[in-house]
C-alpha cells in the first residue's frame, strides 16, 4: 500500500494553535486517511500515513423502495449511470454499489475538505474571502508515494516542495512521502514533537538543576523546530530581588528555565550559540534591571507608606478603596478570632496593590507584599499571612499553612463574596467574573481541611454592616452569601448532598461544624441509634409540623396519659444532652441521646390521641411534639434525608 504525506506550511503558529491542530489531525484526519503519525510544529502541520488503502471503500447508494420498482427504478438507475438490471435489493430498497475510487483520485477532494475543516479558537484571514486559519498558510505539500497529489485549497496548489529552517534550510524537494522526516532533519528541522521535547529535556538535564515552575516546557516544544538548549547567566545583584520576581521575568516574558544561582537555560531555534547567549543575557538583565529599579522605588517608599496610600486606589467601584477594604478585613479577622499577627497582616495585606512592581507582575500580588513586609522587619507570621491570603487560588490548590494565613484568607473571601452580593453582582450561570465560586470553595476548604471556625452568615452580616457604615453603594442584602457557600460545601464534602442540606438546618452554623455534622449523619445513617432519632424527628414533625394550634410553651401538668408523661420525661433528659453534645460538636453522642426519644415517641403515638377534644390538651400535645422535633432538630432537618 502507498504511503501518504500531507503538510500544511504556515507562518509561525502559536503553541496553542499547534495543540488545537494536533487534536483535530489525530481525531478527524487519521480516521479518514488511516493509521499514521501527526507531526506538528510552528511552521508545519503534517500527517504521515505509512499505508493508505489503494481504493476508497465501496459505497451502497440507496434508491427507491422495492415495491416502487416499476415507477422509480429506471429514473434512479439513469441518475446513477447504471442499467436497470444492475440494481440490487437490500433491506427492501433498490440500490447500487458504487465502487470506491482509487485513492489517488479521491485524495485531492478529500484533503482539501480536511484542510478547510480545521478550526482554531482564534483565527484570521490574509486574503479577503480566503481560507480562515490561525496564521497564513503559505504552502501545501502532498505526496502519495512518489506522486504529488493535486490538492488545491483556496487558490493554493499542493506541490512536492517543503521548507527547512527559515534561515538556514531553504526550499527542499520531497521525492517520496515516506522520506519526509529524514528530508526535514537534513534541512535542520525536527518535525516530530515528541522528539523535540526529548531533545529539549536532554539538553536541560545536561545543564542540570533546571526548574519550570510556570510550566513553559509544553509551549516551548511548539515554539521551535530546531531546538538548541543553551545556558546564560545574569548579574548576582539581581538575586536580591524576590526570587519569584526573577522567575516570573524569566518564564512569563522570555520562556526561560531558572537554574541554580544567577543562571538560566533557554531553548533557541538556531544561530551561533555564543552570539545568541550573550544577546539573551542582555535582554534578561534589562528586564531584571527594570524590575530592580521598580523594586528599589517601592522599598524606598516602604510598606507602611504604600498602605497609607491605599485610599487612592479603588477596590471595586461602589465599594470604596483598598483602604476601606483593609479596614473591613481587620474587623473580620477579629471576628474570626485572629490574633495580633493576622490583625497586622490584614492592615498590610493590600499595601502591595499600590506597589509599582505588582503593576509589572500582577500575578505576584501577595507575594510582593509579603517580601516588602519582611524587608520592613515584620514578624514572619505577619509576612506569611500576607503571602497566603489569596490561597487557595484554585479549587484544589494548596491552603494557607499558617494560622494567621488561614484567618486572613477566610476574611478576604468573606469580604469578596459579601461585597459582590451587596452590590448585586452575584454569579449567574457560567458568568462568575469575580471568581466567587472559587472563593466559596476556598472558604469551605479552609474550614473543613484547615480546621478554622467560620460562621459565614454572621461574618457576612457584620461585613454588610461595615459596608453600610463606609457608605458603600449597597443595593442588596447579602444574607444569601451563607447559602451560596453552603451550596459549594455540598460539592466539597464526599457525602451525599442530602446530608449536607440536612446538617445546614441543625444547631451549628459554623462551616466546619456543619461539615462534621453532615459527615456524622452520613456515617451513622444506617445505625440503630440514627433510626430511632430519625423516627422521633419524623413522626413528631409529620404531625405537629403541619398542624396549627400548638401552645406557646409546654405545660407538664396538662399531661393525662402515662405515655405522654413518659415522653415528657424522656424529652427532659434527652434535650439538654443533645444540646450539650451538639455544642461540643460531639454529634455521635447527640445522635445517641436523640435515639432515646424514639421508643417514647412510638409509644406516645400508639397510646395517645394527639387531636384531643380538649383544646388545651391538644395544644399542649402539639407543643410537646414540636419540642421533640426541635430537640432532635439540633442534628439538622432529618426530613431531607431519604429513607
Amino acid at each position: 500500500m502507498p504511503s501518504l504525506l500531507v503538510e500544511i506550511g504556515c507562518e509561525e503558529l502559536p503553541a496553542s494553535a499547534c495543540r488545537e491542530a494536533q487534536a483535530q489531525l489525530r481525531e478527524q484526519w487519521l480516521p479518514e486517511l488511516g493509521e499514521g503519525a501527526v507531526l506538528v510544529g510552528p511552521r508545519r502541520l503534517a500527517v504521515l500515513v505509512p499505508e493508505v488503502p489503494e481504493h476508497e471503500p465501496d459505497r451502497w447508494v440507496q434508491g427507491p423502495p422495492e415495491h416502487l420498482r416499476e415507477q422509480a427504478a429506471a429514473g434512479f438507475a439513469r441518475k446513477q449511470g447504471v442499467s436497470e438490471d444492475e440494481l440490487e435489493v437490500r433491506d427492501g430498497f433498490l440500490g447500487v454499489v458504487v465502487p470506491g475510487r482509487p485513492i489517488s483520485e479521491a485524495l485531492p477532494e478529500k484533503l482539501a475538505a480536511l484542510v478547510e475543516s480545521l478550526v482554531f479558537g482564534k483565527s484570521m484571514i490574509w486574503e479577503k474571502n480566503g481560507l480562515r486559519f490561525s496564521r497564513p498558510v503559505r504552502w501545501l505539500c502532498a505526496k502519495l508515494d512518489r506522486a504529488t497529489v493535486k490538492v488545491e485549497v483556496a487558490g493554493l496548489q499542493a506541490g512536492h516542495l517543503t521548507y527547512g529552517h527559515r534561515f538556514t534550510g531553504g526550499e527542499v524537494e520531497l521525492s517520496r512521502a515516506d522520506e519526509y522526516v529524514e528530508v526535514l532533519r537534513a534541512a535542520g528541522i525536527e518535525p516530530v514533537q515528541d522528539e523535540r521535547r526529548h531533545l529539549i529535556l536532554e539538553g536541560l538535564d545536561a545543564i542540570g538543576g533546571w526548574r519550570d515552575p510556570a510550566g513553559v516546557l509544553e509551549e516551548v516544544v511548539f515554539l521551535v523546530e530546531s531546538p538548541i538548549v543553551l545556558a546564560g547567566r545574569f548579574d548576582e545583584r539581581f538575586l536580591e530581588l524576590p526570587p519569584r520576581v526573577v522567575e516570573t521575568a524569566m518564564q512569563s516574558h522570555q520562556r526561560y528555565f531558572p537554574l541554580e544561582g544567577a543562571r538560566f537555560a533557554f531553548v533557541a531555534n538556531g544561530g551561533d550559540p555564543n552570539v545568541v547567549i550573550s544577546g539573551n543575557e542582555r535582554v534578561l538583565e534589562g528586564r531584571l534591571e527594570d524590575a530592580h529599579f521598580t523594586f528599589e522605588r517601592d522599598v524606598a517608599k516602604g510598606i507602611e507608606k504604600l498602605a497609607e496610600e491605599l485610599g487612592a486606589i479603588t477596590f471595586v467601584a461602589g465599594a470604596g478603596s483598598f483602604a476601606e477594604k483593609a479596614a473591613r478585613l481587620q474587623e473580620l479577622v477579629a471576628a474570626l478570632g485572629g490574633g495580633e499577627a493576622s490583625q497586622e497582616a490584614a492592615r498590610l495585606a493590600k499595601a502591595d496593590q499600590g506597589a509599582e512592581l505588582v503593576r509589572e507582575f500582577p500575578d505576584l500580588e501577595g507575594h510582593i507584599g509579603a517580601e516588602y513586609a519582611r524587608l520592613a522587619g515584620f514578624p514572619e507570621g505577619v509576612c506569611a499571612a500576607i503571602e497566603e491570603h489569596y490561597l487557595p487560588d484554585s479549587a484544589d490548590g494548596p491552603l494557607p499553612q499558617t494560622e494567621p494565613g488561614r484567618v486572613l484568607a477566610a476574611a478576604e473571601k468573606v469580604d469578596n463574596l459579601t461585597v459582590a452580593f451587596a452590590l448585586g453582582q452575584r454569579p449567574t450561570g457560567s458568568r462568575d467574573p469575580h471568581g466567587l465560586r472559587r472563593a466559596a470553595i476556598g472558604l469551605c476548604r479552609i474550614a473543613v481541611e484547615g480546621g478554622l471556625q467560620i460562621d459565614v452568615a454572621a461574618l457576612a452580616q457584620r461585613d454588610h454592616g461595615l459596608l453600610v457604615q463606609q457608605e458603600a453603594e449597597v443595593t442588596d442584602d447579602p444574607a444569601d452569601v451563607a447559602d451560596f457557600v453552603f451550596e459549594r460545601l455540598e460539592g466539597v464534602l464526599d457525602v451525599p448532598v442530602e446530608f449536607v442540606r440536612a446538617a445546614r438546618a441543625g444547631g451549628v452554623t459554623e462551616l466546619g461544624a456543619v461539615a462534621e455534622l453532615a459527615r456524622t449523619l452520613a456515617a451513622e445513617a444506617s445505625s440503630e441509634a440514627f433510626e430511632q432519632a430519625y423516627v422521633a424527628f419524623d413522626r413528631a414533625n409529620r404531625l405537629a409540623g403541619r398542624t396549627d394550634g400548638a401552645a406557646a410553651t409546654l405545660d407538664p401538668s396538662l399531661a393525662t396519659d402515662e405515655a405522654e408523661r413518659a415522653l415528657i420525661e424522656a424529652l427532659g433528659q434527652a434535650s439538654p444532652q443533645i444540646e450539650a453534645a451538639v455544642a461540643e460538636h460531639d454529634f455521635h453522642a447527640a445522635i445517641a441521646a436523640a435515639a432515646e426519644l424514639g421508643p417514647p415517641v412510638d409509644r406516645f403515638f400508639d397510646e395517645v390521641l394527639v387531636m384531643a377534644e380538649d383544646q388545651r390538651v391538644r395544644a399542649n400535645r402539639l407543643r410537646l411534639l414540636l419540642d421533640v422535633r426541635d430537640a432532635v432538630g439540633a442534628l439538622g432537618d432529618l426530613s431531607q434525608i431519604p429513607r
Binding site: W126, L223, R282, V283, E289, D290, F293, A317
Partner: protein, 293 residues
C-alpha cells in the same frame, strides 16, 4: 559585536530602514502632527488601511504614552519612544521574507542570530481594531511587532494589510550592543540620553503631577463634540484628528490617575464610537470620490 563592524548609529539605522522600504515601494511619510500612542493611529495607517485601494507607506512616529514615563530615572521606561511603521496593503505573500531582509539591511546576520516570531495578538480598543501576528525576537529581544489587521474602526477590511512596527530604540540597543537607550549613539558625538533625558523628566512631571485634570476633562468633551460636528459636515479627515486628541487627553487623564477602573471602560468606548463613525464616513467618502486618474 557590531561596534567593530560599524553598527549604524540611530539616525543611520533609520535611514537604512527607510531606504529599504522605499525600494519596496513604500511612500516615505513623516510623523503626524498630533500626539499618538502608536504609529497605528497615524491616518497613514488607520484611514489608509480602510477601503479598496492598495497602499504602501513607511514612516517614523514618536509614540507618546504618558503613563510609561519614569522621570528619566529608569533607563528602560519612557513616555516617548520612536517607532518605524511600515504598512503593506495588501500584505504580499512573501511579506515575512521581505521583513527579514530589512533586518539584514541594518546589519543583522539572520544565520548567526536566533530570530523568532512569537505569538502576539494585537487589539486597539480605542480604535475598534484588532489583528493577529507576532512580536519578533532577535536573541530574545523584541524588536518588532508584526500584525495582520483584521478590523479597523469596527469595519472588516477589503485588503488585509501587514503592519510592521519596529521599536527603534530596542532595535538600536540590539545593534549597538548598549544596555540602555540613554547610551545609544544618535549621531556621532550625540547620545539618545543627551537628547531626551531632560525631556523625560519634565514630561513625566507634567503627565503625572501637574497636567490640569479639570481642563483635560473639559477638552475631552469638546473634542468629542467637535468630532461629531465634523462627521455631520462630512469631513472625516479633520474629524479623525479630534479622535486622536480625545485619545491623547484620555491617556493623560489616565496617567494623572483621574479615571477609575469603571470610568476607563466608558472613556475607551466613547473614543471607539468616534473612531467607528469616522471610519464609516471615510469609507463612504472614498466610494463617492471621483475614480483616480
Amino acid at each position: 559585536m557590531f561596534a567593530s563592524m560599524g553598527a549604524p548609529n540611530f539616525q543611520e539605522m533609520i535611514a537604512l530602514l527607510q531606504r529599504y522600504w522605499a525600494e519596496e515601494g513604500c511612500v516615505l511619510m513623516q510623523p503626524f502632527h498630533t500626539e499618538v500612542g502608536a504609529g497605528t493611529f497615524n491616518p497613514a495607517t488607520f484611514l489608509h488601511c480602510l477601503g479598496p485601494e492598495p497602499w504602501r507607506a513607511a514612516y517614523v512616529e514618536p509614540s507618546i504614552r504618558p503613563s510609561d514615563g519614569r522621570y528619566g530615572e529608569n533607563p528602560f521606561r519612557f513616555q516617548q519612544h520612536y517607532q518605524l511603521q511600515v504598512i503593506l496593503k495588501p500584505a504580499p505573500e512573501d511579506v515575512l521574507d521581505r521583513y527579514f531582509a530589512s533586518l539584514e539591511s541594518v546589519g543583522i546576520d539572520l544565520q548567526k542570530h536566533d530570530v523568532r516570531l512569537v505569538e502576539d495578538d494585537w487589539e486597539g480598543p480605542t480604535l475598534g481594531a484588532w489583528g493577529l501576528g507576532w512580536e519578533v525576537w532577535v536573541d530574545g529581544m523584541e524588536v518588532t511587532q508584526f500584525t495582520y489587521f483584521q478590523q479597523l474602526g469596527g469595519l472588516e477590511l477589503d485588503l488585509i494589510p501587514a503592519e510592521i512596527t519596529y521599536g527603534l530604540e530596542r532595535l538600536a540597543m540590539f545593534l549597538q550592543d548598549t544596555r540602555t537607550a540613554f547610551e545609544l549613539e544618535w549621531a556621532p558625538g550625540v547620545a539618545w540620553g543627551d537628547v531626551y533625558r531632560e525631556s523625560e523628566r519634565q514630561w513625566s512631571i507634567y503627565n503625572f503631577d501637574v497636567a490640569p485634570i479639570d481642563v483635560l476633562m473639559r477638552r475631552f468633551g469638546e473634542h468629542e463634540v467637535e468630532c461629531r460636528e465634523l462627521v455631520e459636515l462630512g469631513l472625516p479627515l479633520p474629524a479623525y484628528d479630534q479622535v486622536l486628541k480625545c485619545s491623547h487627553v484620555f491617556n493623560l487623564l489616565d496617567a494623572r490617575g483621574a479615571i477609575s477602573v469603571t470610568e476607563r471602560a466608558s472613556y475607551i468606548a466613547r473614543v471607539r464610537n468616534l473612531a467607528r463613525r469616522v471610519a464609516e464616513l471615510y469609507v463612504e467618502s472614498l466610494s463617492l470620490a471621483e475614480p483616480a486618474g
